[in-house]
C-alpha cells in the first residue's frame, strides 16, 4: 500500500474542500469585501465616511432602516407564534401528519418568491380576496386594500418566511426527549405546564435559531417588500437596489449593504461561537 494514501487523511480532506472554498472565496467573500471597500471611497477617490454619515443622519434613510427592522421583528414574532404549534404537531404527531405538514411547508418554500408574492397581490389588492371576505362582514370600508401598506408586507412576508421557522423548530422539538415530557405528565403536570416548563425550554435552541434565521432573511428580503410595499414604502434591500442601479450612487449602496451585512453578522457570529464552545 502506498504510504501516501495512508498518511494523508488531512490532505484528502483539504483536497475535497478546496474547490468549494476557492469558489466561495472568489465569488462570495472577495466581491463582498470589494463592495465594502467601495463604501469608504468619496467621488474624488479619497477615503471618506460620507456614505455612512448620510446613512445615519438622513431622516429618510433612517426611516427605511427603522421600517425594515420593525417589520422584521414583527414577522419573527408572528412566524414563531404560528410556527410553534405547527412544528409541535409535526414533531409529536403520527408520521403521516408529519409528512403532510412537511409537504405543506416545503411546497411553498420551493415555489419562487415571485409567485408567492403574486398570490398575495391578488389576495391583498383592491377587490382582492381579503376585501371580498371582510366587506360583507362589515369589518372594513369599501375600497379596502392592504397593498402598499406595512401591514400588507408583514402578512405576505411572514407567509414567505414561515417555512424556515417551522423546519428549524421541528428539528429541535424532535430532539427533546419525549420521556421527559411523559415524566412531567406522570408527576402531575398538566399539558400546558409540561409545554411551558419542559418542551419549550428544551427546544430553545430551535426557537432562537429559527428566530435569528427569519429575522435575518426578513431584513434582507427584496422581492416581497418591493412588490407589496411598492416604491413609496422602501425597505433596506430595495433601497440598496435603487442606489446601485437607478441613482448609481455606489458608495451609498455599498454603505447600506455594509449595514445590512453587519446586522446579519451580529446575529449569527455569537451563535456560531457558542456552538463551537459547546462542541469543545
Amino acid at each position: 500500500m502506498p504510504a501516501a494514501s495512508a498518511a494523508s487523511p488531512r490532505l484528502e480532506a483539504a483536497a475535497l474542500i478546496a474547490p468549494g472554498a476557492a469558489l466561495l472565496l472568489a465569488a462570495f467573500v472577495l466581491p463582498v469585501l470589494q463592495l465594502l471597500s467601495v463604501s469608504f471611497v468619496a467621488a474624488d477617490g479619497s477615503f471618506s465616511l460620507d456614505a455612512y454619515a448620510r446613512l445615519i443622519s438622513d431622516a429618510f434613510y433612517f426611516g427605511v432602516t427603522a421600517r425594515t427592522l420593525r417589520v422584521a421583528a414583527l414577522i419573527t414574532l408572528i412566524t414563531l407564534l404560528l410556527g410553534f404549534p405547527l412544528a409541535y404537531v409535526a414533531a409529536r404527531g403520527s408520521p403521516r401528519t408529519a409528512l403532510w405538514i412537511s409537504v405543506l411547508v416545503i411546497t411553498p418554500l420551493l415555489t419562487s418568491v415571485v409567485i408567492r408574492t403574486f398570490g398575495w397581490l391578488v389576495v391583498l389588492g383592491r377587490n382582492g380576496l381579503l376585501a371580498q371576505v371582510l366587506q360583507p362582514l362589515g369589518l372594513v370600508e369599501p375600497g379596502f386594500a392592504l397593498m402598499r401598506t406595512e401591514t400588507g408586507v408583514v402578512i405576505a412576508l411572514a407567509q414567505v418566511l414561515l417555512p424556515f421557522m417551522v423546519l428549524t423548530l421541528i428539528g429541535s422539538i424532535r430532539a427533546v426527549d419525549m420521556r421527559l415530557e411523559e415524566a412531567a405528565r406522570t408527576m402531575g403536570a398538566g399539558f400546558g405546564a409540561t409545554l411551558a416548563r419542559v418542551t419549550i425550554p428544551l427546544s430553545l435552541p430551535g426557537i432562537v435559531g429559527g428566530s435569528l434565521l427569519v429575522f435575518a432573511l426578513s431584513i434582507s428580503s427584496f422581492i416581497t417588500p418591493a412588490l407589496v410595499g411598492g416604491p413609496r414604502l422602501p425597505f433596506l434591500a430595495g433601497s440598496i437596489f435603487e442606489s446601485a442601479t437607478a441613482t448609481l450612487d455606489w458608495p451609498f449602496a455599498a454603505a447600506q449593504s455594509a449595514l445590512l451585512l453587519l446586522a446579519v453578522l451580529l446575529l449569527f457570529v455569537p451563535v456560531t461561537l457558542l456552538r463551537r464552545e459547546r462542541r469543545g
Binding site: 474547490p19 462570495f28 463582498v32 409541535y88 419562487s112 428549524t168 434591500a237 455599498a254
Partner: protein, 266 residues
C-alpha cells in the same frame, strides 16, 4: 402521548393548524384559480373557465424564450453545484477537518447572508473587471446560493456511511479515486440527487441575483414574471406561475421519494 393530550389543547391545535394551512396555501390557490380565468383581466374569483391563458403562454415567444434561458442556466448551475458541493459535503461530514466549525459556517453562510449583498457585490466586481453583467455572472451568483444545499444534503447522507466498507476497499488495494468512485459516491447517491433537485429549483426560481446581474436583453422566467407584476399583470402570468408550481410539486415528490422531506428539517 397524543391520547393523553387534553381535548381543549387538541381542538386548539387543530384550529391553529387549519388556520396556518389556509394562510400557507391561499396565495398559491389564488394564483392557480385565476390562471383558468376566461376574463381579460386578473380578477378573483376568476370569471368563466378556460384554458386560453395556457395556450397564450405556450405560444408566446417571450415566455418560451425566458423559460429556455432559466432552464439551461439551472442545468449548468446544478451540474457545477453537485461537482463542487459533493466533495465538500463528504469532507465536512466524514473527515476531521481542522476548523470544521468555521468551514461549515463559510459554506453555509450564503443561506443567511443577504442575497442582495451578494448580487450587488458580484455586480460591482463584474462591472469593474469583466466588462459588465452577463449570463456567466448569473451562473456564478446562482452557484453560490445553491452550493449550501448540496453540501447539506450530501453531508446528511455521508454521515451515515459505513466506514468499514471504505476501509475494506483500502485494504484490498483500491486507489483513492477508486475508493471514492466505487464506495463513497454510490452511498451518497440520494444526497447528491436531493441536492441537485434543490439546486435546480433554486436557480430556476431566483429573481434577485438575476435582477442584479442581468445584462440588457437577458430575461429569465422569474424576471419576466417580476417585470409584469410591477405593471399590470394579465392572467397569463397566473398561467405560467401555475406551470411553475406544478414543476415545484414534481420536485417535492421526487425529494420525498429519494431523500425524505423529513430530513430537510434540521
Amino acid at each position: 402521548m397524543v391520547s393523553a393530550t387534553p381535548r381543549v389543547w387538541r381542538i386548539a391545535a387543530i384550529a391553529v393548524v387549519s388556520a396556518v394551512v389556509i394562510y400557507m396555501l391561499a396565495p398559491l390557490a389564488v394564483v392557480i384559480a385565476t390562471s383558468f380565468s376566461a376574463s381579460q383581466f386578473l380578477v378573483f374569483p376568476p370569471r368563466g373557465l378556460s384554458l386560453r391563458w395556457y395556450t397564450e403562454v405556450l405560444s408566446s415567444p417571450a415566455y418560451l424564450h425566458a423559460a429556455w434561458t432559466s432552464a439551461w442556466i439551472a442545468v449548468i448551475v446544478t451540474a457545477l453545484a453537485v461537482l463542487v458541493g459533493t466533495p465538500a459535503g463528504v469532507a465536512l461530514a466524514r473527515h476531521h477537518v481542522r476548523g470544521a466549525t468555521w468551514w461549515s459556517a463559510l459554506f453555509l453562510s450564503p443561506l443567511v447572508l443577504p442575497v442582495v449583498v451578494l448580487g450587488i457585490g458580484l455586480l460591482s466586481v463584474f462591472s469593474k473587471y469583466f466588462g459588465g453583467p452577463s449570463y456567466f455572472a448569473i451562473v456564478i451568483g446562482h452557484l453560490v446560493i445553491c452550493l449550501p444545499y448540496v453540501i447539506r444534503t450530501v453531508g446528511a447522507v455521508a454521515v451515515g456511511i459505513d466506514r468499514n466498507a471504505e476501509e475494506a476497499a483500502r485494504l484490498m488495494g483500491a486507489r483513492w479515486w477508486e475508493r471514492y468512485l466505487y464506495v463513497v459516491l454510490p452511498q451518497c447517491r440520494t444526497g447528491i440527487l436531493a441536492g441537485g433537485f434543490l439546486a435546480f429549483n433554486i436557480s430556476f426560481d431566483d429573481a434577485v441575483v438575476a435582477l442584479f446581474l442581468r445584462a440588457p436583453g437577458i430575461e429569465t422566467l422569474p424576471l419576466l414574471i417580476y417585470g409584469r407584476l410591477e405593471f399590470s399583470p394579465d392572467p397569463s402570468v397566473a398561467a405560467v406561475s401555475t406551470l411553475l408550481v406544478a414543476l415545484t410539486i414534481l420536485i417535492v415528490i421526487a425529494l420525498e421519494r429519494w431523500f425524505g422531506l423529513g430530513r430537510l428539517a434540521h
